[in-house]
Amino acid sequence: MAPKLPIDSLEVEFGNKIQFTSEPLFSNHAFKINESEFELSIEGVATYKVKGGRHIDIIPHEGADKESIELFLNGSVLGAVLFQRGIIPLHGSSFIHKGKGVIVCGASGAGKSSVTAAFCKRGAQFINDDISPVAILQNSSHSNNLPEILPIFSTIKLWKDSLLDLGYEQSGLRKIRPSMEKFYLPVDKSTNINIKLDTVIILTTHQAEEFKSEVLTGISKYNVLRRNIYRKSYLRGMPETSKKFFSQLINIASQIDVVLITRPKRARIADTVDFIDNDSLIWKR
């Protein structure tokens, strides 16, 4: 059975041969890329090829399990599909809270998924986990060419500790890979339409014990958004897309709030969510 992917107009095929038909503009041991083609090899899992944002070929490696093949397909490979379609994938999880469309961005391990799951437990509407595609679409459900979040996911990936911390049972949940204590938590998908993006929260950690909040302005908003593009290293081989993303991000940055939240490295999820939930810099603007 073909693995599931959360976006439409996409063909996925399993095969035994992958050919890069044009010259890559960047390549290293892991991936090669140009504007229309992308190839990624994950040792012991699979080699993936994405073409034109519409077609994916997969060659599973010997002994690979289907969970791992699906995990990276829905991560790094999906990222390449979005790049090829000219849609910016921000590295963040997203939800609607207090009437605002919010993306929580940050590096892997910063706590994006846990914070989003906790907000959803408090009544927020889930949009995406880990990757939040953002586009300014013509003829969209919103007028004035506002930036929108495209809803694509219906599960949140959470480590066992976070599940327990949030009061969920792990039994019955699917592991993301057989060797990992990380699980897919299904969440109520209350929206299938694009959601207006109001605020991007950048979640970082520090070694101090206090929480900090800072509203970014001017060019620093753009810089921070660019740093939080999911798989931004693909842009090394996509100069045209890089230019498109630059103008789109400038436009997006001018229409949204960007708030930097710094939490103690060892903060509990509930404390982080309390701080964000009570931060007037985010909700009362």
Binding site: N28, H29, A30, S76, S108, G109, Q207, S233
Partner: protein, 284 residues
């Protein structure tokens, strides 16, 4: 295309101090650079860099899978840099991954500067750094398969080995040239030792510049900056990263049994490095 210089050490052995000196020296700064400028020398266990080079979230791989990627990731970093040299701090011992490849690839390396410090002072400084208690730190230092990092949101896993095997792992390999310095010599004859590193790296040698960089990175200045601005490499419960830095600090903190345990485990290397004499007496 660049070559990588590994700034290698067991934790709490003078690595960060040297990185501050280097940042000041390379910039030829008149005033002390802020601690955040140390980011010029990135850490080899950075998960962000791993993700950029491999296009994979390292926390969705096992530590063994991560180690399989690391040599090629470093080659990619070096191949795509316009600099002559890239400096990378590392606390990893020199080890081989499951594919039989060294984690630190010789072909992408200029060399390694290895910082070594009296293990008795390392124990004290390390215990202050991670607030885990002296006995626990000593257990780590004598544990054959010790490692740090590897947890979600943390650095990548770094295999330490024992304190002495960490040293031997770098000295006994033949893929990367190593220039070793003792922390105690960095403190007692800074100009000579830091100057020797500048020469070994074939950086432009300038005595006045060395004086200035040493002055801008002296321990008191670093302590004052940490007090004023904080320091991101300080762990959450640790009060001060730049704590004492002095030689022989163990005398005020280690028990006789703790000293004996460390000497018993590390006798050969401590003798070789001059931390004990032939009779097993401490020299520092």
């Amino acid at each position: 295309m660049a070559k990588i210089v590994w700034l290698a050490s067991y934790p709490k052995s003078g690595n960060t101090w040297f990185r501050m000196f280097l940042a000041n020296y390379l910039k030829d700064s008149k005033e002390p650079l802020p601690l955040e400028d140390i980011e010029r020398t990135t850490i080899s266990s950075s998960p962000e860099e791993f993700e950029d080079e491999s296009a994979i979230n390292p926390f969705e791989l096992t530590s063994e899978e991560v180690d399989n990627y690391r040599p090629a990731n470093y080659r990619s970093v070096a191949a795509n840099s316009p600099e002559r040299l890239i400096f990378k701090k590392t606390h990893d011992a020199y080890t081989i991954n499951r594919k039989g490849e060294p984690i630190f690839p010789g072909d992408a390396s200029y060399g390694a500067v290895y910082f070594v410090r009296n293990p008795l002072d390392v124990a004290i400084s390390y215990a202050n750094h991670n607030t885990s208690g002296l006995d626990k730190v000593i257990c780590t230092m004598i544990k054959e398969n010790a490692f740090i990092g590897g947890r979600v949101g943390d650095q990548l896993r770094q295999i330490l080995l024992t304190w002495d095997n960490h040293y031997y792992s770098w000295q006994n390999q033949n893929q990367i040239p190593v220039h070793s310095v003792r922390y105690e010599d960095m403190v007692m004859k800074p100009k000579e030792i830091f100057g020797s590193i500048v020469n070994w790296l074939e950086l432009p040698y300038d005595e006045e510049r060395i004086d200035r960089a040493l002055n801008n990175s002296n321990f008191k200045t670093l302590q004052e900056m940490e007090q004023r601005d904080g320091f991101r490499e300080r762990l959450q419960n640790c009060k001060q990263f730049f704590w004492k830095g002095k030689i022989g600090n163990y005398r005020d903190h280690l028990t006789k049994e703790q000293v004996e345990l460390l000497i018993e485990n590390f006798k050969k290397l401590m003798l070789q490095l001059g931390y004990i004499d032939e009779r097993g007496e401490l020299t520092i």
